[in-house]
């Protein structure tokens, strides 16, 4: 699905990521961990074409990122569900419209997707909030809305950047449960988090591999978490 080959990245100064190779196989579940500022978000951005690698290659769905133009990147983003660390919504549109945004921009017929949309909203527990505007949402609601928006196009891959960042323990468990359920449905999942407790909580429920970035390189962490 997503392949990184000797990937390097630098924001201009020293290389932040150095020679990272990684393959996300279909149906796999990965955690990406590492201290704050280690480059988790940067690595995610490289996976969905928000950044171009300064060295090495990124291949998504068999297509090298460097060969993609802006329209190809747009197409890529419809096929990869991304939950951003800071989810941005359009404040002038209701929650349900925001979640339907990927459908709108890809020219889908919204009336045909209405049922789908409603089920998804209910699944993430936002069924009663569909007419609310983004500024009225709590942190947990925003995170779930971001997840719902990432899922509306039925992507095969889900990249979630700190999906439990601003929520309490109980909510983080609910979000984790949703992501585990998606993986059971066959989706490929990558979760970036610095929260080791979350990873520990996941271990009993899903066969996950844990990756750790430190000093710009990637290691597989063992079971010693």
């Amino acid at each position: 699905m997503i392949e990184l080959d000797s990937l390097s990245y630098s924001y201009g100064g020293d290389a932040l990521l150095r020679g990272i190779s990684l393959q996300l196989a279909p149906g796999s579940f990965h955690f990406l961990t590492g201290p704050s500022g280690s480059g988790k978000t940067t690595l995610m951005k490289l996976c969905y074409g928000a950044l171009q690698p300064t060295g090495g290659t990124v291949t998504v769905f068999g297509q090298p990122l460097e060969e993609m133009n802006r329209d190809d990147i747009a197409w890529l983003r419809r096929r990869v569900g991304v939950v951003h660390q800071e989810a941005h919504f359009l404040d002038h549109m209701t929650l349900v419209e925001n979640i339907a945004l990927p459908l709108m921009v890809s020219g889908r017929d919204l009336s045909a997707e209405a049922r789908n949309l409603k089920e998804l909203m209910a699944w993430v527990g936002l069924g009663a909030r569909s007419r609310a505007y983004p500024p009225e949402l709590s942190g947990g609601e925003r995170q779930r809305a971001a997840l719902a928006r990432a899922l509306i196009m039925s992507p095969e891959v889900i990249l979630a950047d700190e999906p439990t960042g601003n929520v309490d323990w109980e909510m983080s468990q609910r979000l984790l449960a949703l992501l585990v359920e998606l993986n059971r449905m066959g989706k490929t999942v990558l979760i970036a988090t610095h929260d080791l407790a979350l990873i520990r909580a996941a271990k009993s429920r899903v066969q996950a591999r844990v990756l750790r970035i430190a000093g710009g390189t990637l290691q597989y962490a063992g079971a010693d978490l």
Partner: protein, 309 residues
Amino acid sequence: MTGPGDRPGLGRGVRGILTLLRGDVQADRVVPPTGFTAGLTLWAAAAMAFLAVFALALSLAAGRMASEWGGALARSSTLRISAPAEQMDAQTTAAMTLLKTTPGVASARVLGDAEEQKLLTPWLGPDLPLDQLPLPRLIEIIEAGKGFDAAGLRLRLAGEVPGAVLDDHTRWRRPLIRAATRLRELGALSLLLIAGVTGAILTLAAHSALSANAQVIEVLRLVGARDEFIARAFVRRFTFRTLTGAGIGMVAGLGAIWLLPDEAEGAFLSGLGLQGWQWLLPFLIPILAAVVAFWATRAAARRILRRLA
């Protein structure tokens, strides 16, 4: 993105607008309402359409004046011969001979009785016993090129045809015709300038709207919007607002022209009003304004979207 068929043009502009009209209104909502640029676009389009109506009316009226005053009338002069009956034929022949050798005269023709009667009827009534009146003989002179030297011709006539009076009264109209022609060109130029200014205002407004919505654009891109989709959302807005504004301005302009005081017929200014089918022409103004808006905002949107990449 640009193919061989992707050239700017009126046809493509109109087709683009029709596509927009058919487009998905829901997708339009992704751009937040923008109070300032919305008002600016609407009023600028209205003002420009108002002005365009006048420029158009001026251009049409000047054109009408030029063609009414121009034509055969302005190229002709009249030689009037008043002489005792027995000398009339001799003087007429002398005048004709003289005219034939005058540079700048294309042709000269003695008017027949019937024609003369026709000319006099409006002044003296239809029951004129022409044959019993000592009417002067009239010779119509059609000029060639830059025309003849009227002073020189008068001098020669005075020597050879004592009863001849050269009436070149239509010549005074020539500067007016030139002025009317120039006025028509100025009207057309004004229309072009108005279109240009409209395009410039819309480009600025589109730039400002897109820059103010950089965050919205960012969100749209993150969820997989292509530049074309984002541009269309903005272009739709501006095109419709321009169409509405220009429609309002056009109606106001037409109203103002319609309310112009009706001068006596033939008076100089009475021509500014539109006549007949010309009342339909101003309805093209909002359509053309929308085409200008479409192209201007589309170009601006593409430029800004490239810059925001």
